[in-house]
Symmetry: C2
Subunit: 340 residues, 2 copies
């Protein structure tokens, strides 16, 4: 996926580099950690394996001894202080991303997305002020898109509690840059899909659940007319964005949309999942109670800032990404189909 | 200050109405509680008297028996659940507003401005879903003004941790409106001044400290050239805005700038404080270390939304507000000059 020149510089930059990946047993964190191990980095992973959030020990299978995995709560000052000490780059993927869950458990969402973020930033300020910190933000920070494509300076009016806390977590990172000089940046992720994603439930998004239902030969339920536009991005392209952000000095103090910049209808995405799985079917239904108020409408990101500042370019076509995702889960079904 | 017509409707609306004022021993909360008692409301006050935040038992002097004062932490589910039960209007002024303090104690700031806010909103959702909730927001949510006058849809990029948490607290209120149907709104307050303000230190703002220094016959220190523009509002006008917000159905789901809409230079405000006190002097100095990064530049609010939706109009001239403030503190010096 990566251009040859960038691949060479990745290895040069990350070889032997001490890095931390928080949330590193999760979908994106583990994919990033695996890539960093391949690049020769000295990788530490911190994760609390909070049930239902996507942390999965199988995500780092085959890497025993190749990295240092620590099971602890990022909000624990001792644990996070130890984890950030001596790291050159900190990829901060600890957090929750489930919208409806945040409405049911606002304090739990706050703990992961605000308390644990302050704990990390305070630990970096006190013990690793020269480290770069790359935060995983989300397009949910914007809420309903008032203009499209959505640029980074679009107002942030999150539609649910998770979005409020994720936006606060990002802004805290940027304040620590402005006030304390920490080299923080944020990647606002769109709907990410790919191998190692949580597949046991659909509370973190719809696209993993579509593929799960299709692979099970079942019916995919699309709300409304299925024309809601989403911008979905394959995991490998996402990992590349994190690697670039971790090595780009000019990223400090900024937030970047990480997405394809191309919209697909939700119905179209359902059909693509069925095609990749080779089974399943699509059915259009009314919005369930409780989902409609937090539906944020169509979303397509403007990715110019990431292209220009990070030199990033998404390059995995949807059909190929889905094919590779389906192939992974065909072989690893047992580790992902039921909640740990 | 209030127009006769509005005054009549205030009494009609609030007479015998059960209301809660959180942070009700603080500057704005107590001023509002006093006015509500005068209007015949059944007033409950909740405050934890957190040291250094402005809560002051003397603020409700002379009202023993006229209202119900409860000393408790708003983040305590039992205390807040009991406090919101049966209230028709909840004026939610619990919170911290000190910028530098938030950098030194981010967890304490989060507790007051996020945790305690979720606790209140969850208590309202569970036990008082028909109550109106008026949240005290702040112009610090905006950060540096990109355009002036600042409208409510201006981007929110707070420059310090306090601003991040206050913005999150407001957005949580608006999410509870959108998702759960609670009639919440937010008043984004500019620099408020007046009787009963915290005068023991200058960490919550500059204007109270200017008047304090002037009344002590000392030197007022103005940073830089003193041309930084601020929008300062007298307490009585602020209280009127809260009363209107509590009775305006159309306010639900919205945020309103509460300010004069007129800017004054910080140097000019210092001179006005000296004039009101009849003593003191003004000196211009360089920015101290640590203050410059969180200086947000000039600020003037657009107050059209509050004028049109709430029917609110600020009407106390600066010189009159300062004169009344100085007169109050001449007589009540002992209760305000030293920290409790």
């Amino acid at each position: 996926m990566t251009q040859p020149a960038a691949a060479a510089s990745f290895a040069t930059f990350y070889q032997e580099l001490p890095v931390l990946v928080t949330g590193g047993l999760g979908f994106i964190g583990s994919s990033l950690a695996r890539r960093l191990v391949t690049l020769g980095a000295r990788v530490t992973v911190l994760d609390n394996l909070n049930p239902g959030q996507g942390g999965n020990p199988h995500n780092l299978d085959g890497l025993a001894g190749a990295l240092d995995v620590r099971l602890a709560d990022q909000a624990d000052p001792q644990a996070i202080g130890d984890a950030v000490a001596g790291r050159a780059v900190i990829f901060n993927l600890c957090g929750r991303v489930a919208h409806m869950d945040s409405l049911r458990d606002p304090f739990g969402d706050m703990h992961a997305n605000v308390t644990a973020q302050i704990a990390l930033l305070e630990a970096v300020r006190a013990g690793s002020p020269a480290a770069r910190v790359v935060y995983a933000g989300t397009r949910s920070q914007y809420g309903r898109a008032l203009t499209r494509p959505v640029r980074e300076d679009h107002p942030q009016q999150p539609a649910d509690i998770n979005g409020v806390h994720k936006a606060a977590g990002e802004r805290l990172h940027l304040v620590y840059h402005a006030v304390h000089g920490i080299a923080t940046c944020s990647l606002r992720l769109t709907n990410i899909y790919g191998p190692r994603q949580l597949m046991a439930h659909g509370r973190q998004g719809f696209f993993n659940w579509f593929l799960r239902r299709a692979m099970d030969g079942e019916e995919l339920q699309v709300y409304g007319d299925g024309r809601q536009v989403r911008d979905v991005l394959f995991i490998d392209d996402t990992v590349t964005a994190f690697l670039l952000a971790g090595m780009t000095t000019a990223a400090a103090g900024h937030a970047f949309n990480i997405a394809t910049g191309e919209g697909h209808g939700v119905g179209e995405l359902a059909e693509a999942a069925v095609a990749a799985a080779g089974r399943g079917s699509v059915r259009y239904i009314d919005y369930p109670a409780g989902e409609k108020p937090i539906e944020v409408g169509d979303f397509v990101a403007d990715i110019t800032a990431a292209q220009e500042t990070l030199g990033w370019q998404p390059c995995t076509p949807l059909a190929e990404g889905l094919r590779r995702t389906a192939a992974f889960f065909e072989s690893n079904h047992a580790h992902y189909w039921t909640e740990r």
